[in-house]
């Protein structure tokens, strides 16, 4: 999309909208300057998406899908999960979920999926308008749910669905698994050519893989700044700043953004500027964020002098980066995308969490048991027990949901957190 005019149009669209002043919280350090830039990038992304339909081929993509393979074909990519998180954060989750439920989708199903289907049925979205896709691109490396969900979208929207099937790593990944995934890449090329009307360009793919790898490595470096004491940002900041690595992966803009963010964070580390003013305890977060409670939780923990310095969730887009190799794009993407946390056995998750706890000097762990996300949540009770046994790290489980606030009990969560705070001080 052309950059010309978009900022002006965005400016016009903002005219007349009231901006609510945000009351500064005394427990936090100075806000990150990059946040403004992030907001502009993502506003522009959603804004331009309104005009993508008809101008560019549009793909709706799952967060774990190897999007690099779409980039050489010029697809404008939209991430329904990212949109679901946005709806959750804007507290529109229950309303959109209810629309899907009216159409027969059970309340026990993933709320990202229900929000997306609710958006399909009602057209409602805080993003103005989402472009209709020409293609659906899903990978079950994060869950099987996306396969069921995208299958429903394909049925309703009458557009083709490509599923990148990643065998679950019950043990080590095998050559057979890799070959299977490489073959799938080869098979999807003609489909992508047909949908986009463009010929495949191998060299361009290599470039996108290279940029995606650099962006992921830089994102990893961004997260690693939180090893410093005090950490220059909180994981709640990172939940926001991760959007480009999910939604704009492979594009130079994401890399550029993370280089700027990294420079700012390193500067904060050098000057000893913390995200919260009095960082007494350092915590780890497990699972996807509770989007509609981000601000409340951020303030609650900061008020206790507790800062989240790492999360298995944010780490997922940095963890398998080293496998990416532009000289072997298909094979390396197969490895990188198949070895992500949710497609790996629970033993490897336990080892990962142990490593993060040690590297980031974590004192306690908050586990979000998310109704929407079974592959992330099943096994958490044992993880809690094993981490306590092995590292004596106290932890708490919050039973909630990622975007549907109807599954959240304020009272129950408060009670559990109060007990956790006591344990942390003991």
């Amino acid at each position: 999309m052309k950059d010309l005019g978009a900022p002006a149009l965005m400016g016009i669209s903002r005219v007349g909208k009231k901006m609510r002043p945000i009351k500064p919280d005394p427990h936090f350090g100075p806000p990150l300057k990059c946040t403004r830039r992030l907001k502009d990038i993502m506003t522009r992304h959603y804004f331009l998406s309104r005009y993508a339909e008809g101008a560019k081929p549009v793909a709706w993509v799952t967060s774990g899908a190897p999007v690099e393979v779409l980039r050489p074909f010029g697809f404008y990519t939209v991430y329904p999960e990212n949109h679901g998180a946005l709806c959750g954060a804007k507290k529109m989750g229950p309303e959109l979920c209810a629309v899907a439920e009216e159409h027969g989708y059970h309340q026990d199903l993933c709320s990202y999926a229900r929000i997306d289907l609710g958006h399909y049925f009602s057209g409602k979205t805080p993003a103005g308008k989402l472009p209709k896709p020409d293609l659906l691109f899903a990978s079950n490396n994060i869950c099987q749910t996306v396969a069921y969900w995208y299958k429903a979208l394909s049925h309703y929207l009458k557009v083709p669905l490509i599923l990148f099937d990643t065998p679950y790593n019950f043990r080590e990944i095998t050559d057979s698994d890799i070959s299977y995934m490489v073959r799938q890449f080869e098979e999807m090329i003609p489909v992508l050519e047909q949908v986009s009307g463009r010929q495949f360009n191998y060299r361009k793919l290599q470039e996108y893989v290279s940029v995606a790898k650099d962006a992921s490595i830089t994102w990893g470096a961004v997260l690693a700044t939180m090893k410093a004491r005090p950490a220059p940002m909180t994981i709640f900041d990172a939940f926001g700043h991760m959007v480009p690595i999910v939604s704009l992966r492979g594009l130079p803009l994401a890399l550029e953004y993370y280089r700027t963010l990294l420079a700012e964070l390193r500067e904060r580390v050098t000057r000893g500027v913390g995200a919260i003013k009095h960082e007494r305890k350092r915590l780890m977060w497990d699972n996807i964020a509770i989007w509609y409670k981000m601000r409340d939780h951020s303030s609650l923990f900061a008020g206790q002098g507790m800062n989240f310095v790492t999360a298995t969730y944010t780490n997922a887009w940095a963890e398998t980066t080293p496998y990416m190799d532009e000289n072997r794009p298909f094979e390396s993407m197969a490895r990188a995308y198949s070895l992500v946390i949710l497609n790996n056995n629970l033993n490897s998750r336990l080892e990962l969490m142990e490593r993060l706890i040690k590297e980031y000097q974590v004192d306690g762990l908050v586990i979000h048991s998310a109704r929407s996300c079974k592959p992330y949540s099943v096994g958490q009770y044992d993880l809690k027990r094993l981490l306590m046994e092995r590292l004596e790290v106290p932890s708490v489980i919050i039973e909630a949901d990622i975007a549907d606030s109807r599954a959240y009990s304020e009272e129950q969560t408060r009670t559990r957190l109060e007990a956790f705070f006591e344990a942390m001080e003991g």
Binding site: Y105, H106, L109, Q144, Y148, Q184, P375, G379
Partner: protein
């Protein structure tokens, strides 16, 4: 003979016993390696210990399976096999293998997900051979001659089941709904040497007219609770066919001409009826259901869901909408396993039957 007594007898005969989680797996390989696969769908237990490992929003198939292990009722088994059926079974496999400290061999079987391509076929063959190679390490070499015999036995079982299903669909099976599934479900643990005579006997004994009442099709994971079958019998309703994961979707195995046993098993897998757990499209599932409706003259479909079962629950709204468009009645129920039928469910089923009568 109870299932337990049967398995003790099999063990005494020198066979290995494996606990197999739902749903689709290459049973011929296990039979050929002298293994009795005992499928774990809905053991009649009260869930206590499993709640310490699994959240309240996990389905009762997974919870009951784990409960069975935790209560020590699998202690005499020689191993477990976990097919990749859904996210919850996938993680359960890892909990059992990685976290419970059990010293039993655990095997995992990944089937490629639809839409199927050439890569899916190559991969599936490799999966079959890979599983056989892993089992050989524990159980000794796989005899290909024996495997061929087992593939042949599998064909025989499938042809008998097809015959039974066809007779039922055309109203020529004089057996109650409850009797039918009681027999079919014996296949979850009987070896073919014992299952084949049972099916043949049932076929012979059940020839005759079915009840004259309205016909319905059941869809879902498995025919549980059995009380719904008894209620339908009581109301004079004929279950003319089913779309159960545990039954027709994996038992109505198409005939394969392939001479190589691995190729025959692969051919069979890709020709199985459409299923949520394989990623089949809604269009394929509808075509399958409409085919069954046409043959059997069913007037409605009852979707009997296991609570929290994502693969099934995602497809239901679209299936219901399309079925209704064609003037068919639908009833959607979701319930925990082994919970019987509540008064409210009873009333809903009765109202549904009145509607189609």
């Amino acid at each position: 003979m109870t299932r337990k007594e049967y398995l003790i007898k099999q063990k005494k005969m020198g066979r290995h016993i494996f606990g197999v989680f739902p749903a689709q797996y290459p049973r011929e390989i296990l039979w050929a390696m002298n293994v009795v696969p005992v499928e774990i769908w809905d053991p009649p237990l009260e869930i206590t210990g499993a709640n310490a490992h699994l959240q309240p929003y996990i389905c009762s198939v997974v919870k009951l399976g784990l409960e069975l292990i935790l209560q020590g009722k699998c202690d005499d088994l020689d191993g477990f096999l976990f097919p990749h059926t859904c996210d919850s079974i996938q993680n359960l496999a890892s909990i059992v293998n990685d976290y419970l400290g059990m010293e039993k061999p655990c095997y995992f079987f990944y089937h490629p997900k639809a839409p199927f391509r050439d890569s899916s076929r190559i991969f599936y063959m490799e999966q079959l051979k890979g599983l056989a190679a892993l089992l050989e390490k524990q159980l000794g070499p796989l005899d290909l001659f024996r495997l061929n015999q087992c593939v042949e036995q599998g064909r025989h079982v499938a042809s008998l089941l097809r015959k039974l299903y066809n007779m039922r669909a055309s109203g020529e099976l004089a057996a109650s709904n409850a009797q039918f599934y009681r027999v079919i479900r014996q296949g979850e643990f009987l070896v073919p040497d014992d299952f084949i005579p049972l099916l043949e006997e049932f076929l012979t004994a059940s020839k005759g007219r079915s009840v004259a009442g309205p016909a319905v099709i059941l869809s879902g994971v498995l025919p549980n609770p059995p009380e719904i079958l008894a209620l339908l019998d009581e109301l004079g309703v004929r279950v003319a066919d089913d779309d159960f994961l545990s039954c027709s979707r994996r038992l109505l195995v198409p005939f394969s001409q392939a001479r190589d046993p691995f190729e025959a098993m692969a051919e069979t897998y890709f020709a199985l009826p459409p299923c949520t757990t394989k990623g089949s499209s809604i269009e394929e599932r509808l075509e399958f259901l409409f085919g069954k409706i046409k043959v059997s003259g069913a007037r409605g479909v009852i979707f009997y869901m296991v609570k929290f079962c994502e693969p099934e629950l995602f497809d239901v709204p679209q299936l219901v909408k399309e079925l209704k468009k064609r003037g068919l009645a639908t009833l959607v129920i979701d319930s925990e396993l082994n919970q019987g039928l509540s008064g409210q469910l009873n009333t809903r089923v009765e109202a549904f039957v009145e509607m189609i009568s």
